[in-house]
Amino acid sequence: MGMNDLLLRIRALRSRQRAERDLDDELSFHLEMEARKKRLEGVPDDQARRSARAAFGGVEQVREQCRDVRGLGWLEDLGRDLRYGVRVLRQSPAFALIAMLSLAIGIGANTAVFSLVDRVLLRNLPVRNPEELVVLKWSADPGSDSISRSYAYNDGPTTNVFSWRIFSEMRRSSQAAAAVFGFSPADRLNVTANNEARVTGGLLVSGNYFSALGVGMALGRPLVDDDDTVDGVPAAVISYRLWERAFGMDPSVIGKPLYINRAPFAIVGVAPRGFYGVSMGGFFRSPEIDVTLPVRVRERLPQDPKHPIDWFAPNFFSFQVMARLKPGAGTGAAKAEFGAILVANMPEEARKDPKAGVPRIEIESGAKGLAFLRQDYRDPLLILTAVVGLALLMTCANLAGLLLARATARKKEIALRLAMGAGRFRLVRQLLMEGILLSAGGALAGLLLAAWGIHALLSLLGPVSNGVLSDLTPDMRVLAFTAAISLLTTLLFGLAPAMRATRVDLSSAMKDDRLAAGGSRRTGPVRILLAVQIAVALVLVVSATLFTRSLANLRAIPLGFNPQKLVLFGLSPGSNGYDEARGYQLYANVLERLKRIPGVTHAGVSALTPVGGFSSNGSILVENGGRSQRRRMNYNYVGPGFLETLQVPIVLGRGIEQRDMSSGVRVAVMNETAARRAFGSASPLGGRFRYSDKDPFVEVVGVARDSQYDRIRNEPMAVTFIPYTQTEFGWLQSMNFEVRTASDTAFTTAAIRAAVHEFDRMLPLLDVKTMETQLDEALAQQRLFAALVSLFGSITLALACVGLYGAVSYSVARRTREIGVRIAMGASRMAVLRLILAQVAVTTAAGLLIGIPATRALTRLVASQLYGIQPQDPLSLAGAAVAVVAIAMVAALVPARRAMRVDPVRALRCE
């Protein structure tokens, strides 16, 4: 359409009302002339008018066709449909409100979950052409002795670490790749910025890291190869977040000093907002990456002088390698090339060892970065997606039912308009417009809900959630998703009722249908939708039961210690270059100082904090009647008063005390399970064990009640408590403190920070939290599932009830006359009640028939997330089924009682 044509149309649209009036005038002029002609032929006036109209045909149809010819019919119609839709909805505000609210919840929940799914599972790294990036891994078959196994973090034969020599050779000589870059995480760094010490994650990178990724800086310059030398200026790039938090986004931050594990660095750049490195927010269990350093500074950071590490030795594998392939290059050439370099640069001993196997390169897409976060979150996110998806589906089924019932109620009006010549397509569009208005309102409210929902989700996930997710707000992708699902929703709940409503047999519809029997044919689709709703409700109610019972099972497990009013934190003096003597002195001083904080009743120190997620285990040789027996054992290395602070009762002997810390006498306290495992029924007091034949004996001086160890478990763990000064492997470079307070935990936390600051201003407190928070974190995922699935289960069930109530009410209203006849003919009121309830029972039974197999299939998928309960648990299924049936019956009972009270005289007289 040309520009002129468009202008014409726009002008025509503006003068639309005039054009419409003109058309009316023109047509009525015609009818008048026609009538006049008939009158002249001698036909009486009113008959003349009638036959003029008859000769003309459908006026409305002609008008429509003329409008279509003018070419803006559809635009006009749209506006008209819109106004009509608003008017219709305003006539039933309760319906509109409920519909929009349920849509808002459904769309909002889906948007919130999609935001997470998108960020964690779908989105590419925010770098230049991310699809060109690959991650290199390698493995060496065959067998369990292969060299790659000894470097693999998990149990498989594939590993992702390379030696410095292999990486350097790849970077130097690769033809297939545009760039090869390496990095190595430094999980916990003590970073002092602006005189404030904090713990952050760090990444050590090759000099070409930022240029190969194609990431520009928000401020300053990226690291370059010149920074990546031993003698170069020690440069650091900080994250946008650290710039915000530690420097208040001060633009003069470039060149300022940063102390990392006490070593000085100069800030050269600030990474762009939203860039968190190639691992999408940190590595397993480590904080997010806030500082990026040249890899060579490994040699500047303090090391334990007793166990120095040669990071750049040919047999030390610690570098992870990624490459950017040349545009259009396949992985085949790169694989061959990197494979040859890998084989040629393996350490001497591996090349000589026949069992080491032949190393092979594996190439994975690196577009999304490394997979840590994705692996951790994949299953929970998929479950959440399924739950909210089901809830939205449910909302659609519910609304489709309501709209269908409304359309049936408007059948006469629709039939009339079809008879007047309105096109069916027009009518469908008009009915759909109501749906579009509903879902548009729902989507808008849903977006608001989603913004709140993301916060709720993240707070439920707790600290499990990561820095990458902290700045999560709905963006264009998410908005597009929301728009798409609302449109899809509209089609799902709007189209079928609209199509059905306009497929009317005109002559029968125009007649009164009240006498028509309430056959199931007419209500069939409504009842199928209701059955589906009941099925979905059953699936969600069963899941909610499973998750809630699973959480209750976890909560019911006795902890064995008192979690209330207990503040936890950690210190890592080893990273700041402390040696054993100074380190142990610090632990002792801090412990003494903590006890002097007002309100603090006890303070303890330990290598592991209960339910902290970490464990330490090995085996001991127990002396039993002259023979020595090997026993598996878990350890915790503790200071004096640790068990007393946690309020773990000593059942025999004594706990670890101050005198054990500096004494040469090796002692240990076992918990009851450990004592039983080591000494059976014999008294453990005075019993002896050692770690190996060469080590000195350790004497058991006490037995403590069992308490939870690394995570909440049902079966007690065998744990032996050992003074932290008596380890068999050198000193503990970081320790956790536990502080029991009688006053406010927030006040105590502030006092603790100040107290530690007195000793060392560059020593940050790690993982400061209360024990109750730690317990919540341990159960974060279970709490999330239980809360969300229960929420959506209840909403779904409520929607199903509303739907059922509506359907039964409608059916009773329509059958009033039939019921009246029945009662007049002598049917008892109970028989009427049975009649109505039987109909509901059939629908509910159909719902269960679909729902039970669906539940059995779907709950199997969540087995890994359940604790102490089987996904097929018959009790949960039966309980949920009974609840669903009972609630369905209650929802049906109210309108059914109305049917019982039908007065036959009035029912038959009406109309």
């Binding site: 003109d22 005038d25 023109e26 047509l27 002029f29 015609h30 008048e32 002339m33 026609e34 006049r36 002609k37 000769a55 003309f56 045909g57 459908g58 149809q61 002609v62 066709q65 003329c66 279509d68 010819v69 003018r70 070419g71």
Partner: protein
């Protein structure tokens, strides 16, 4: 007398031809076609107005409000230059088609 419904597409031709005599309103156009064809051709009034609006949209006819013979406001249609050309073209092809159909009916 039996009436024949108009063949698809011939209505446009008849409207254009009718308007060659001068501006007319819709009712008069349908009356005239009926009259001249001696009541053989029956214009379906329902399709007359969409056809008029279509022709107007194609710029073959234009419309103006005027006063009818009985003093009432009416919409008068008249041929445009493009309409005249179009009429000649359609008339031509109609003549050729009827001639062709006639020949087939005679000879085949």
């Amino acid at each position: 007398m039996s009436r024949i419904d108009l063949l698809q597409g011939t209505l446009d031709l008849l409207i254009l031809r009718t308007l060659q005599a001068g501006p007319q309103h819709g009712w008069a156009i349908s009356e005239r076609i009926q009259q001249i064809s001696q009541d053989v051709l029956q214009v379906n009034q329902g399709s007359l107005y969409p056809a008029l609006h279509r022709l107007e949209h194609q710029d073959w006819i234009k419309a103006e409000w005027g006063v009818s013979e009985l003093g009432r406001r009416a919409r008068f249609y008249s041929l445009t230059a493009a309409g005249r050309t179009q009429l000649e073209a359609e008339r031509d092809s109609w003549a050729r088609m009827t001639a062709a159909i006639g020949r087939v009916l005679e000879m085949a």
